[in-house]
């Protein structure tokens, strides 16, 4: 029982889903942790990345590389559309607008009217073939008790490889003059402006880069699942990414990675534990799936609240750097 629980948790913590969420959190960290932009629509970037890729490949029959480019370009376009009206406004307005935009996108791809393009509620599949053709792993079982198959090994490797590469990129950017301007905007926007910096432009660049990283996260997510449906992109995904970022440590380079691994370890461990208890029939008259889902989401909510109140800097963060707020 404990052993199953541990391996379930570990399988999830190092798996491709955790890697995709780490990517979402890396992007979010650039937005929120380094620039102070309260983006509550990160799942919208994930959505345009995932659908950009899958529509290009599955509907128009394009090659995978083109799909990857389309997905990232879609994130750039979304940033410009979203940022233009809202980046001049205060943080909480940006939060409401971005979450609204992500829901608009989900409603639109879900709508029967866009069936030919997005497959509406049924979504799309058969876009991941070329990706798995590139896999160097021979068919078989890997990682002992974790039982990853060759495809899962490949997408896991690519996912965490991207996490490493993009975290390194963020680290480099944040040590550059550009990164210092971003942080100064986070600390005091007016001071940065009075030094002649075009605050709007810097914010827009941050929104674009973080958004593209989120879109890449979305692509990894759907490549791992080999299908895409609109309801994968509920607003709660963004809040999971927020929980991951805060858990790991906002404004730290390794925070999103550490947060994603720990978050999925705890969440899956908890789910596996509840499932075990429910299946053992300790509580009669309760069906499994709903209890597992409900209790684990209550736990995520409590985690967010308690972290924010008692340890807003997470496990790796520096409390001094984290005095973010709306002025």
């Amino acid at each position: 029982m404990i052993e199953t629980l541990f391996f379930d948790a570990l399988r999830s913590a190092i798996g491709p889903t955790a890697a995709s969420y780490a990517l979402l959190a890396v992007g979010l960290n650039l937005h929120f942790g380094y620039t102070g932009l309260l983006n509550f629509g990160q799942v919208g970037y994930m959505l345009v990345g995932a659908y950009g890729l899958s529509i290009t490949v599955a509907v128009f029959g394009g090659p995978l590389w083109l799909g990857l480019i389309v997905g990232m370009l879609a994130a750039v376009v979304l940033s410009i559309i979203l940022g233009a009206p809202t980046l001049r406004l205060r943080a909480d307005y940006l939060a409401i607008t971005t979450i609204a935009a992500s829901e608009i996108l989900r409603f639109l791809v879900r709508n029967t009217g866009s069936d030919d393009l997005t497959g509406s509620v049924f979504g799309l599949r058969q876009f991941a073939g070329e990706f798995y053709d590139w896999s160097p792993f021979a068919p078989g079982e890997y990682l002992g008790p974790l039982g990853f198959n060759a495809n899962r090994m490949w997408v896991t490797l690519v996912g965490w490889g991207l996490v490493a590469a993009l975290s390194a990129m963020v680290w480099t950017l944040m040590r550059s003059p550009w990164g210092r301007v971003l942080r100064s905007i986070r600390e005091d926007e007016d001071a940065a402006r009075s030094l002649g910096k075009n605050v709007f432009l810097y914010k827009m660049q941050s929104l674009i880069i973080g958004g593209v990283i989120g879109a890449i996260g979305g692509m990894v997510f759907v490549l791992a699942l080999q299908n895409v449906t609109p309801d994968m992109f509920l607003p709660q995904v963004t809040f999971f990414a927020f929980a991951i970022m805060i858990l790991g440590g906002t404004s730290t380079v390794l925070g999103p990675t550490a947060g994603a691994v720990l978050f999925w370890f705890l969440l899956t461990g908890l789910q596996s534990g509840i499932r075990g208890v429910v299946d053992a029939g300790v509580i009669p008259g309760i069906t499994g799936g709903q209890v597992v889902g409900a209790v684990s989401l209550i736990a995520v909510g409590l985690l967010l609240m308690l972290l924010m109140v008692f340890r807003p800097q997470g496990i790796l963060g520096d409390r001094e750097e984290l005095r973010l707020d709306v002025s």
Binding site: L89, D115, G289
Partner: protein, 435 residues
């Protein structure tokens, strides 16, 4: 055999009735499924049904089954006799949707706005799912009627948004908190009434006031136990916002844990004969909901304008420091705002549950529309929330005259983005409130 029965007495007015009855019979008796190639022996949980139009099975229709627990998607296509069957991976909650675009020419869903069913499948059981087919609804040029009807629906929905949004706006005005858990106060209010009405069997007319009082008390309790200590610690507004998201997760999924994920209804006022007013049809309960919403909004307006407490609320929302230095007990006023907002929000939830249904996501779906209304009207202003909420309700219902009702919220959210572009302080807001 069954289809020959219908042919024997085929008459135009009987067709639709027969189609419905037949579908129900065919689906109800799962035995009918054994006519198809028996594939179900190995799976222990299945969902199935038979699609029939005028007694004939409808072939080649796609039915999609999605697990609401983990999002897994399965599909089936109806066979020559119209029957379809999906083997499920296990017990759980599923959402079954008929792909209306795969229906043959001249056949439509009798309720085209509702192509999905939600079922809960238990171990070793087969769930039968009914999709009633009929002649597709002819979209004649009855635009005037649809315009009028959607205005009524928009007003009804908008008044509910307005009621729930007042609390959101006043809480922002007095404390600066953008409360993402506000939508879930709607859900909790609706389910408190559900608990009293359905579980305990109280009449809704008694259950509703009790639930509204409990909703106000819960909101007041949250202010005392969660928000006031955080304010005392000088917690930042973004940190509080993230706490409110955590709180919303907790509230929403506690409801899910206790009441389940499917849509429910109150026991009273369920099926009523609609009244005809010229071109518009309204159920008496909807008239009551609208009347009571207007009454509540007027009462709140008078309270804010005429009473000492109301004036203090507006004063604190306007300028907290000035209010405090002129002798107003700010913490008391904030508590009163939470109780008032919580009560109104619970009432809105009950009204929404009455005219639609209650489910654990109802408040979260409403939250973004409340934000749209509040920003449209002017963040921090109670009157703005009323005006903005009604407009948002109107816009989303009005859009269904020309566009698919699946994307009616998109228009309301677009209003939100446009107003931020054009006039970010909102209709009734003042310029210095933002930025």
């Amino acid at each position: 055999m069954v289809s020959s029965l219908v042919r024997a007495r085929r008459g135009p007015q009987l067709r639709r009735v027969a189609a419905v009855v037949l579908t129900a019979i065919a689906v109800g008796s799962v035995a009918a499924l054994t006519a198809g190639p028996a594939v179900a022996q190995s799976a222990t949980e299945t969902v199935s049904g038979r699609l029939a139009f005028e007694g004939e099975g409808v072939e080649g229709v796609r039915v999609v089954v999605e697990s609401t627990d983990d999002g897994a998607v399965l599909e089936a296509v109806s066979g020559p006799d119209g029957s379809w069957l999906v083997e499920l991976p296990g017990p759980g909650a599923y959402r079954i949707e008929l792909d209306a675009s795969t229906l043959p020419e001249g056949v439509g869903l009798r309720d085209p706005d509702n192509p999905a069913r939600e079922v809960r499948v238990f171990e070793n059981s087969t769930s039968a799912v009914v999709f009633a087919l009929g002649e597709p609804q002819v979209q004649t040029s009855d635009t005037p009627r649809r315009l009028l009807q959607s205005s009524v629906n928009g007003l009804k929905f908008g008044l509910i948004i307005a009621m729930t949004a007042i609390g959101l706006s006043l809480i922002f005005g007095t404390t600066g908190l953008v409360n993402f858990a506000h939508g879930d106060l709607v859900t909790v209010g609706a389910f408190l009434a559900y608990f009293l009405n359905v579980t305990l069997g109280l009449p809704l007319l008694i259950a509703a006031p009790l639930a509204i009082a409990a909703g106000g008390a819960l909101a007041g309790g949250l202010d005392r136990q969660v928000w006031r200590p955080l304010r005392a610690q000088r917690t930042g507004l973004i940190a509080m916002l993230v706490v409110s998201i955590g709180l919303s997760f907790v509230l929403r999924h506690v409801v899910l844990l206790f009441f389940g994920g499917s849509r429910q209804s109150y026991t009273d006022f369920g099926l009523q004969t609609a009244l005809e007013f010229g071109l518009v049809r309204v159920q008496p309960v909807e008239l009551w909901v609208m009347g009571l919403s207007v009454a509540a909004l007027v009462a709140v307006g008078l309270m804010l304008n005429r009473t000492k407490l109301g004036t203090s609320m507006r004063a604190v929302a306007d300028n907290r420091d000035l209010a405090e230095s002129s002798g107003i007990d700010v913490q008391r006023v904030i508590l009163a705002v939470w109780v008032l907002g919580g009560g109104l929000t619970a009432a809105g939830g009950i009204f929404l549950g009455l005219i639609e249904s209650v489910d654990y996501l109802m408040g979260f779906r409403l939250l973004l529309l409340m934000f749209a209304g509040v920003i449209l009207g002017g963040l921090g202003s109670a009157y703005g929330a009323m005006v903005g909420g009604v407009i948002v309700g109107f816009v989303s219902e009005f859009s269904t005259v020309w566009f698919s009702s699946q994307i009616k919220y998109v228009w309301a959210l677009l209003v939100l983005i446009v107003i931020l572009l054009v006039r970010p302080q909102g209709i009734l807001g003042r310029r210095e409130r933002f930025g």
